[in-house]
Each structure stands twice: as structure tokens, then as C-alpha cells.
């Protein structure tokens, strides 16, 4: 018995034109006849070509697919802006916050957003921040106590007109509250008031009490870039009032005489006048916003003598702070007041009659009326004085009417 030799597991040899494939362990081989060498070469080339073609088409396919994907991505990017995010997503919530904040005025929105931003500041979680606040409160109380001590010892300064800056700073928060919160006063044309130099503001007067003068001064002090102090010329009756006469002086207000006005203007101060005087402030509700006579033109003489530009100012909203129904001259004479109004709250509600109605106010500043062109001595020209007085009065009246036309509500504006 012959031993079978194991077949070599060798590669298939293609020594000849036949292909011998070993089958298992037997010696049998399967012979596959193949074609000639040329044919074999052509097939391999064709195969290679077809493989190459296949590869090429695959590459093309791949490129095409990439292009399609790019296009799809581009389309989705465009659509993304219009895509409504699902509810409760962070984008939806931030959109809602933005929408809600847009319902408020820009000032209020800013305050709300700033406070929100500050609440997520890590400083708020720090105990030292609260200690610091406590320290600052103590420091403020200490400085207030020192201020009081100095005031009681007489250690303070006033200017030649009696203006005391510390008193102004003390009462400023109250006036600012009335200005910003109570009457929500809106000003227009503040930029027409020069940063420095003599200027005369000519305003309408109304409202039974001189709140309009106080608010005019507050508006300019709080909003003018140069924080100018307004020197209002007061009617001669005000210095007869106890306490109030002292307060007006401490706040920089001056008795209304031509000499005082000229002196203030020569000192390059910002002066305000209310030429209607008592007649204007004591108007009844039925005569509201109809300007009374602008005096005898004393303010025009002051402006002409000092070559001061006059700025007409209209104050709308003050008329309705007290609804005066009629005046009682007899009572006024008895108590030494220039007038005694009977309003819907005064004198029936006693001291509550002094509480003004929270109307919405508008203070509009008109274009300056120059006087330098009239030259020296023009203040002696009575015709010119009369003409300019009427001109200013008409301008202020027009400004009032223009504002009233735009105003939709007395309380809300």
C-alpha cells in the first residue's frame, strides 16, 4: 500500500494554460482549462476597467451625495430662522422673555433686564456683599449725622442770593419723586438750553400752587447735561409766607424785580419767569390753558438790556393738578392771600386738599428768541417791548395748543 503524499498547499500554479485546483487531501486535482494568455490579459484589463469604472461611479456617487447633503444643510439653515422651536425650549423661553420685555418702555425694560442680570451675579450670594451693604448704610447714616451737626453749628455756606446747595440736595429726592414717579414728567427740547451763559426761560403758570416752577427747576437740574440751576423770579407775595420764603431762598429762588433779574443775567445765570403771575396760577378750571396777560413786559426789558436769548416754555398738565371751580375774593382778603380757590378737594377735605392730582405733565422748550440784534437801549423802546411780549406769549400759547392736541389723557398722557 502506497502512502499518500500530502498535497502541498501551494498556490495554484498557472504554468500552463490549465488551472489545477487541488481538491481536499486527495491527489485529485481539478483542472480548469482556461483560455489563452491573451484572453486572460484582456479579461483582467476589462475587470480592472470595470473595477475602475465601478470605483469612479462610486466616487461620483459619493461626490453627488456630498453635494446633495450640502444643499440640504443650506436649505435647513435658511429654514432655521423661521422654525418655531418647541415649547419650553430655552430658545422659546428667551423669545418669550424678549417679547414680554418689549411690552414695556425701553427704560423699564432696561431696569428689569439689568436687575435680572445682576441677580445671577455671584456677588449676591456672597455674605461679604451683604456686609458691605450694611457697612454702606452705616456710613450713610454717619455722614447724615455729621451733616446735621454741622448745620446746627452754622457751619455751611450760601451764595450771595442765599442759595444753599446742601438744602437742595436734601429736598432733591422728594422733588425727583414728584418729577419722575408722581407726575411722570416728559421733557422735550432740553438741548435748546445752552450749557452755560445767560438765558431767560419764559413759562406759562398754572396749578394754584407753584409746583410748575419747582418741576421746571427739577427737570433742568436732573436732565440737563450741565446740571444747571434755575433761578426763578418769585412774585412778591411769596416772601411773606413763613417757612416757605426761607425754603425758596435756600433753593436759589429770587424775588421778582427787574434789578434782580438783570443782576442774575449779568452773572450768566439761567433765569425763569412766569409772566402771568398770580392771574395765571389762580385760573379756574374753565379757563385752563388760556394764557393771561404777560404783565407789562418787564421780562422783555430784562432780556433786551442784557442781550439775553429768551426760550419759551410750555408746561402742560399742571392746570389739572387742582380743579379750581371758583375763587372767593372776600376770604382771600381776610387771610391776606392773593386768592382763595374752591376746588373739588379744598377746603372740604382739609389738608388733603393740598394733595395734587397725579396728572401726566409735559414740559416743552421752544426755539430761543435772540435779543442781541436789537442793540443797546432797545429796552426803552416801548413798542418793541410790547411786540416782543406778545410774540413770546403767542409762541407759548401755540406750544400749549400743540401739546394739548397730542395729549390723549389727562392722567396717562
Amino acid at each position: 500500500m502506497t502512502e499518500r503524499k500530502p498535497l502541498k498547499k501551494s498556490t495554484i500554479k498557472m504554468a500552463d494554460s490549465s488551472l489545477k485546483i487541488p481538491l481536499g487531501n486527495s491527489e485529485e486535482v481539478k483542472t480548469i482549462s482556461i483560455e489563452s494568455k491573451e484572453n486572460l490579459t484582456m479579461d483582467s484589463i476589462e475587470e480592472q476597467e470595470s473595477v475602475a469604472e465601478a470605483k469612479l461611479s462610486q466616487e461620483e456617487h459619493r461626490r453627488q451625495l456630498i453635494e446633495e447633503l450640502d444643499q440640504l444643510i443650506e436649505n435647513l439653515r435658511i429654514l432655521q430662522a423661521e422654525y418655531p422651536p418647541p415649547s419650553n425650549s430655552s430658545k422659546q423661553q428667551s423669545d418669550q422673555k424678549e417679547m414680554r420685555s418689549n411690552q414695556f418702555s425701553p427704560g423699564m425694560s432696561l431696569t428689569v433686564l439689568q436687575r435680572m442680570r445682576n441677580t445671577i451675579n455671584e456677588d449676591i450670594l456672597d455674605m461679604d456683599t451683604w456686609r458691605g451693604i450694611w457697612y454702606m448704610v452705616n456710613y450713610s447714616l454717619e455722614s447724615q449725622r455729621d451733616l446735621l451737626r454741622r448745620r446746627m453749628a452754622g457751619d455751611y455756606q450760601v451764595d450771595e442770593w442765599g442759595y444753599d446747595e446742601e438744602v437742595l440736595q436734601t429736598v432733591a429726592p422728594f422733588f425727583t419723586f414728584m418729577y419722575k414717579t408722581y407726575w411722570r414728567i416728559q421733557t422735550n427740547g432740553m438741548e435748546k438750553i445752552p450749557g452755560e451763559g445767560r438765558t431767560l426761560l419764559v413759562c406759562n403758570h398754572s396749578g394754584q400752587l407753584p409746583w410748575d416752577g419747582a418741576m421746571l427747576g427739577t427737570a433742568i437740574y436732573n436732565e440737563h447735561p450741565n446740571q444747571r440751576l434755575v433761578r426763578t423770579l418769585l412774585a412778591s407775595w411769596f416772601p411773606t409766607l413763613p417757612f416757605f420764603s426761607m425754603m425758596f431762598t435756600k433753593l436759589g429762588q429770587v424775588l421778582a424785580t427787574e434789578e434782580n433779574g438783570i443782576r442774575l443775567l449779568e452773572q450768566e445765570q439761567l433765569v425763569s419767569v412766569f409772566p402771568e403771575g398770580i392771574k395765571g396760577v389762580s385760573k379756574t378750571y374753565w379757563d385752563r390753558y388760556r394764557l393771561a396777560r404777560f404783565g407789562r413786559g418787564g421780562f422783555v426789558r430784562m432780556a433786551l438790556k442784557t442781550s439775553t436769548p429768551m426760550i419759551p416754555v410750555s408746561i402742560v398738565g399742571a392746570e389739572e393738578t387742582y380743579i379750581s371751580l371758583f375763587k372767593v375774593p372776600i376770604i382771600a382778603k381776610m387771610i391776606g392771600f392773593p386768592f382763595f380757590p374752591i376746588s373739588i378737594t379744598w377746603p372740604w377735605t382739609g389738608p388733603f386738599g393740598f394733595v395734587p392730582i397725579p396728572t401726566k405733565w409735559y414740559i416743552d422748550f421752544g426755539d430761543p428768541i435772540p435779543t442781541v440784534e436789537y442793540g443797546p437801549g432797545a429796552e426803552n423802546n416801548l413798542v418793541l417791548v410790547s411786540q416782543l411780549t406778545d410774540q413770546v406769549r403767542n409762541v407759548v400759547q401755540d406750544m400749549i395748543w400743540s401739546r394739548l392736541v397730542k395729549r390723549k389723557s389727562v392722567i396717562y398722557g
Binding site: P106, G107, L110, Q114, R115, N118, N121, E122, D123, D126, D128, T129, W130, R131, G132, I133, Y135, M136, Y139, S140, S143, E165, Q169, N222, E223, H224, P225, N226, Q227
Partner: protein, 132 residues
């Protein structure tokens, strides 16, 4: 050892810093909308910075002026340096008495915006001024 050797160095640093803060639109917007007059009083060495938010754009001036500030902050130059570097939190500066504020404290969010904006630019300013 003090951070700033003399007033001139402090002035140049602070002026450069506020020039950069003045180009930050967010800070400008907050200051403008606040309409506040701010004063930053720096001590050792001494310097005053006034920011008038009532003007558009807000005006920064140096030295004393006649405007009465709505909010005044007093701090030393070294404390300001560490606050702007972020090494001293503002709360700690307050509690330690290193930062004193007078005036409308409720409006102090404007200061926070200025400090945050300053903190962004301060390292760059230190490099420019070659201060370590």
C-alpha cells in the same frame, strides 16, 4: 508695594482704560440710559474721573468739576487695580471699606456695568502700560 508708582502712571492707565470702555457699546448704552453723573475718586495716588451720562455720547473728564455727581465712589488705586483684575470681588471691597459709595445706591448697577467692562479691558491696558 503700591501698584502705581506715581500719579502720571495712574492717570495714563485710567485714561487708556476709559478710552477702551468708551468703545464698548453695551457700557455706553447703560450709562446713557441711566442719565447719571458719576464720579470715581481714586486715592493713593489721587485722581478723579467724572462720567457725565447725561450727554450723548457720555463724556469722561478727569479732575474736579462743578457737577454734583448722582453717584460717587471712592477707592484706593491698589483696590481698584485688584477689583479690575477680578482678584477682589466688589462685595468684599465694600465690606472691607475699600470701596465707598455715596449717593443713589439704587442706581449702582451702572457702576457694575462699568466695572465689568473695565475688567475685560484692564489686562490689555496693563500690558500696554507695562505694569505687572
Amino acid at each position: 508695594m503700591p501698584v502705581f508708582n506715581n500719579t502720571s502712571q495712574l492717570q495714563k492707565t485710567i485714561e487708556r482704560l476709559f478710552n477702551l470702555v468708551g468703545e464698548d457699546p453695551e457700557a455706553i448704552k447703560v450709562i446713557e440710559n441711566s442719565k447719571l453723573i458719576l464720579r470715581l475718586k481714586i486715592t493713593s495716588p489721587a485722581m478723579e474721573v467724572n462720567i457725565n451720562g447725561r450727554k450723548s455720547p457720555p463724556e469722561v473728564s478727569y479732575g474736579s468739576n462743578s457737577l454734583k455727581p448722582d453717584l460717587e465712589v471712592e477707592t484706593s488705586a491698589d483696590s481698584l487695580h485688584y477689583i479690575l483684575l477680578g482678584e477682589m470681588p466688589v462685595g468684599k471691597a465694600w465690606s472691607g471699606g475699600k470701596l465707598k459709595a455715596h449717593g443713589a445706591i439704587t442706581k449702582s448697577f451702572v457702576l457694575a456695568t462699568i466695572f465689568h467692562s473695565g475688567q475685560r479691558f484692564y489686562p490689555q491696558v496693563l500690558k500696554e502700560m507695562a505694569i505687572k
